[in-house]
Amino acid sequence: MLNNWIERIFGRNEGNNPNSRDRVKQRLQLILAHDRVALTPQMLDEMRREIMAVVSKYVEIDCDSMEISLETDQRATVMIANLPIRAIKECEEINLFEQSEQLEIANIDSVIDLEQSEIESQPEKTEEKESQTLEVSSQTSQRSLQ
């Protein structure tokens, strides 16, 4: 009784959960990104595999750290594919594999579930190269979380 009084007088009951507003916004943004693109997980997986196949014809991609994410802004959905390039095919002696390029594909109404990656892992790389590609992928994952 007295405790209850003190709490009410000092307003301790207010703001029990100061983060619920941010939580709900985050949850909504994530749900809506998926809601807005009406693709089944199977279709998404297939699309991702096809993109990989096309790009792989020309360059060697680091499949493990490849990321495809979705962002929505002003009701437009943007798909961002981040495909770290390990090497250009047929000219591997050149030092080009150090570049990591980010491919942006805009205005595609689709979502990719990256966590269910079924792509076989690529041949092993030197440690130096590995760390570079990982850096790029972590940047993208931060973006997609926003």
Binding site: I9, F10, G15, N16, P18, L28, Q29, I31, R36
Partner: protein, 267 residues
């Protein structure tokens, strides 16, 4: 040709019918000729909120099946002669109503009215498809809650797919004190997520229940509550007037007033 506006939300219970009744009444009080169409076939409620339930003889289904003339089915509001209601049937199986029927009906009503407001049923099935047929504009009603906002987003997508581009938003049942405590999304949060034009912000108000009990829309009250004023402003904005949004910030409670309230309240 009057404006045909569908009032929709996706989720049920967020205040579509309350908003329809109040916007209709407020627009009529601005001197506009308004007809409210209850498109919630089988679960009609708009007549209750307007207090017109005893005067409904024919419904939209009777008009569509040509059992009566449209003028016979329109219930004129005695308090506000600019307002009339076309009620929904309470039984569903009379006639299969199609989107085309509804389109013809609202377009006919738009010829003799400034506003045709269509109160849409919850959901996105046939009833929704019928209700949006013929509408050129939409007012989305949502509350600052996750499920309502998600459903509103879905409905906005469907409206756009049905070539209804003029979409405005009412954020209903806002609790400013909770927003201040970061326990509820603000109007800005909802707008950021839905990216549509805001037309009204209605605070949570117990008077909504009282007015429903009496069958008198809030905007008719002699001493209008905050929600009543907010609905009136929303109607004016819908009608093209520039009206500032109400300042709904909660009054900061002082230490003394909190103490006084804790001493005087029973619990």
């Amino acid at each position: 040709m009057g404006r045909i506006i569908v009032i929709t939300s996706g989720k049920g219970g967020v205040g579509k019918t309350t908003s329809s009744a109040n916007l209709g009444m407020a627009l009529a009080r601005l001197g506009k000729k308004v007809v409210l169409v209850d498109a919630d076939f089988g679960l009609r409620n708009l007549d209750l909120l307007l207090g017109l339930e005893n005067r409904v003889v024919y419904t939209a289904a009777d008009v569509i099946s040509r059992e009566c003339k449209i003028d016979q089915a329109l219930v004129k509001d005695k308090r506000q002669p600019n307002l009339s209601l076309l009620a929904a049937p309470q039984t569903r199986n009379k006639i299969l109503i199609t989107a085309n029927h509804m389109k013809q009906l609202v377009e006919f009503l738009a010829k003799s009215n400034d506003y045709v407001l269509v109160d849409c049923p919850a959901g996105i099935e046939t009833g929704f498809q019928n209700a949006i047929a013929g509408a050129k504009e939409a007012v989305i009603v949502t509350t600052p809650e996750i499920s309502a906002v998600r459903d509103a987003d879905r409905v906005i997508g469907l409206l756009e797919a049905n070539r209804i581009k003029d979409i405005k938003l009412i954020v209903n049942r806002l609790r400013p004190a909770m927003v201040k405590n970061n326990d509820m999304m603000s109007v800005e949060d909802v707008l950021e997520i839905l990216s549509v034009k805001l037309v009204g912000v209605i605070p949570e108000d117990e008077q909504v229940i009282v007015s429903t009990n009496k069958g008198e829309p809030l905007v008719l009250a002699e001493n209008p509550s905050q929600a009543a004023i907010a609905y009136d402003h929303t109607a004016r904005r819908l009608n093209g007037e520039e009206v500032e949004f109400l300042d709904l910030d909660p009054v900061e409670q002082s230490f003394l007033s909190r103490m006084w309230r804790s001493l005087t309240s029973k619990k």
